[in-house]
């Protein structure tokens, strides 16, 4: 498979006053297209920071980030916004829907940003809501949906622009076992059907079980990277 993202010697430091934290320390990591990868490690090990760099939300202090071979390390804020819009989907631990928009409109929003034509937009939104089992909740506002349902809307929204990869930061942390499992199964199916790569930052063993590759971070370094054989869930 072609590489979706390539990190070379990527470092990220945060400074609060005189205290400097090294969140990522010369990380080398390649994510191939269509992967379904878990990013694990103790709290503070740099998982979120890594997702933010992969997702073009932030810039590294050192090293190079390539998206489909293109060096995006020095991209401007607007260029990075364009990359996020067209190639990256985000799922957050908090359900991150826009509260004033219905489920349908939340899924539609990134398509609007990408200038997808109305007919095509309608088809895609309906298909995605169907894929996450929420066609009958299209007109509901987030506060009229359960946590599990909200997270499924967020999954549908992330997939709308048919991105290269979806980054999910602890997507199941606020879900009970059944809902967590349902969300993972939906993502797994979408990964298989669309070929979109998924990367999860997680502590949740149930999520790790779904992964086909597990990257372990500690103190901002990759200490283990294991591709798992196809295994039964």
């Amino acid at each position: 498979m072609a590489s979706a993202v390539q990190l070379e010697h990527v470092s990220k430091r945060y400074r609060i006053g005189t205290v400097e934290t090294i969140a990522l320390d010369k990380v080398d990591l390649t994510i191939a297209e269509g992967e379904f990868t878990a990013l694990v490690g103790p709290s503070g090990s740099g998982k979120t920071t890594l997702l933010q760099l992969i997702g073009c939300l932030d810039k590294p202090d050192e090293g190079t980030v390539r998206l489909q071979g293109q060096d995006i390390t020095r991209f401007s804020a607007n260029q990075r916004a364009d990359l996020r819009r067209s190639r990256i989907g985000f799922i957050f631990q908090f359900f991150a829907l826009i509260p004033v928009l219905t489920a349908y409109e939340n899924v539609e929003l990134p398509l609007l940003l990408s200038g997808v034509k109305p007919a095509e937009r309608r088809t895609r939104v309906h298909a995605l809501l169907k894929a996450v089992g929420l066609e009958d909740r299209a007109r509901h506002r987030p506060d009229q949906l359960s946590g599990g349902q909200q997270q499924r809307v967020a999954i549908a929204r992330a997939l709308g622009p048919q991105p290269l990869l979806v980054l999910a930061d602890e997507p199941t942390a606020n879900l009970d076992t059944a809902n967590g499992q349902q969300a993972m199964e939906i993502m797994q199916k979408l990964n298989q059907d669309t070929g979109t790569a998924f990367i999860f930052a997680t502590h949740d063993p149930r999520v790790i079980n779904y992964a086909r590759r597990v990257v372990t971070l500690t103190d901002g370094r990759v200490i283990e990277d294991s591709a798992l054989a196809e295994h039964a869930v």
Binding site: L83, R84, P99, P110, L113
Partner: protein, 410 residues
């Protein structure tokens, strides 16, 4: 992103905190309505005073001898017009002219047994339609006739001040063309109440021929006063008399002091307009800034979805525009209702306020608001503009948020 979709987002955002949105809209609406009422009143005062002055005192145009000076109210023969009939006949040939009448002005002192008062004596042609407003304003007695030998008209207020009734005899002293003080006894035949205190306190009307006799001016007059069918036609009539060699004074010239005073006053009201606008702007800026602060994480999500700073800025400006337009609509409604009421009912400020303007300002004691649509349009646009300017800082703040920092916000 299509603008109308951003607009939907902006519009729904306003629905989140309905109370705050309503309060802000109310502030915009009240601010605008207040300014509308204020400006309508000023327009009413200006226009009414001007029209009162034209109607009762100056007319639209005056023809005077080249050397006549209003301040001196000279009665010297050389400063007067000898043959007003020719001018009046010439004026009568012009379509724009409604009426032309000769007038002789003099300063006088009216004395009763106990009191006296300085006055303005008007020698007039009682049959002229120019004096219709005073005929209408007659409250006691009857109007003077051209051959009245000792009858005069005075204002009801002056009569009250001096304790005079219809039929009362008074002594009137005028300094004549030779500088001699001439005194004569007159009897009050009627009283008028024009509603313009300065006029009702100081004008004494008598037939022109009587005034000419008293002042020794023979058949001379101070001026010929012209009333036009349309104020806008002034310049055409001026042109018609340009070659006469006389002073041709327009209502603008004749009310110059008043117009200047009003313009000076306007500067103060513009300042008041600006202050009200600034208050509205601060309220809008505060509301939008609060709504940005409450939504920082959401802005982070929008940014993660690929929305650019520019879009977030547009969204905030659209929010401000919606807020402002709704407030303006309500304000226009409120303002128009208030102005409609005040244009018919008016506000009675009492005569002391009206007199305080002095001689040059013919202020009625009841002031009516006047519809000034172009001013309302201007105020509405200014309100919209200032709210957008006030929204710039919150919008810029939203635009420059770092997505990573915004997402971390609890």
């Amino acid at each position: 992103m299509p603008l109308h979709k951003l607009w939907v987002l902006a519009f729904r955002d306003l629905g989140r905190n309905r109370r705050r949105t309503l309060l802000t809209m109310t502030a915009v609406a009240l601010g605008l309505a207040l300014l509308m009422v204020m400006n309508s009143f000023i327009a009413g005062i200006m226009e009414d005073s001007l029209q009162n002055s034209i109607k009762l005192r100056t007319g639209h145009l005056q023809l005077r001898a080249p050397s006549y000076s209003e301040d001196e109210r000279s009665l010297q023969w050389g400063d007067l017009l000898l043959d007003p009939e020719n001018l009046i006949a010439q004026a009568a040939t012009l379509d724009e002219v409604k009426a032309a009448t000769p007038v002789l002005w003099a300063n006088g002192i009216l004395a009763t047994v106990n009191e006296s008062a300085g006055l303005q004596v008007y020698g007039i042609d009682p049959d002229s339609p120019v004096y219709d407003p005073i005929r209408t304003a007659l409250v006691n007695g009857s109007f003077i006739t051209p051959d009245d030998r000792s009858g005069i008209l005075i204002g009801e207020r002056l009569a009250t001040m001096l304790g005079l009734q219809v039929g009362s005899k008074v002594s009137l002293t005028i300094v004549d063309s030779e500088g001699q003080a001439d005194e004569a006894i007159f009897s009050i035949v009627g009283m008028f109440a024009t509603g313009i205190p300065t006029y009702d306190e100081s004008a004494v009307l008598m037939p022109l021929t009587k005034a000419q006799g008293l002042t020794n001016t023979n058949r001379r007059v101070s001026a010929v006063v012209l009333l036009l069918n349309d104020q806008q036609a002034t310049s055409e009539v001026v042109a018609a008399f340009r070659s006469s060699g006389l002073q041709v004074l327009t209502w603008q010239d004749l009310n110059q002091f008043f117009i200047q005073t009003m313009q000076t006053g306007m500067a103060f009201y513009v300042l008041l307009d600006i202050i009200v606008m600034l208050i509205v702007a601060v309220i809008i800026a505060n509301t939008l800034l609060m709504s940005v602060f409450e939504r920082i994480r959401e802005m982070g999500i929008l940014s993660a979805l690929g929305m650019k700073g520019r879009h977030l800025m547009q969204m905030m400006l659209l929010e401000a525009a919606s807020l402002s337009l709704a407030g303006i609509a309500i304000g226009l409604g409120l303002g128009l209702a208030a102005v409609a009421y005040l244009a018919t009912a008016g506000i009675d400020f009492g005569s002391s306020v009206a007199s305080s303007g002095g001689d040059a300002i013919a202020l009625g004691s009841t002031i009516y608001a006047r519809f000034v649509p172009d001013v309302y349009v201007g105020l509405s646009l200014a309100t919209l503009l200032i709210t957008l300017v006030a929204a710039l800082y919150p919008a810029w703040y939203a635009a420059r948020l770092e997505p990573v920092a915004a997402l971390r916000e609890a």
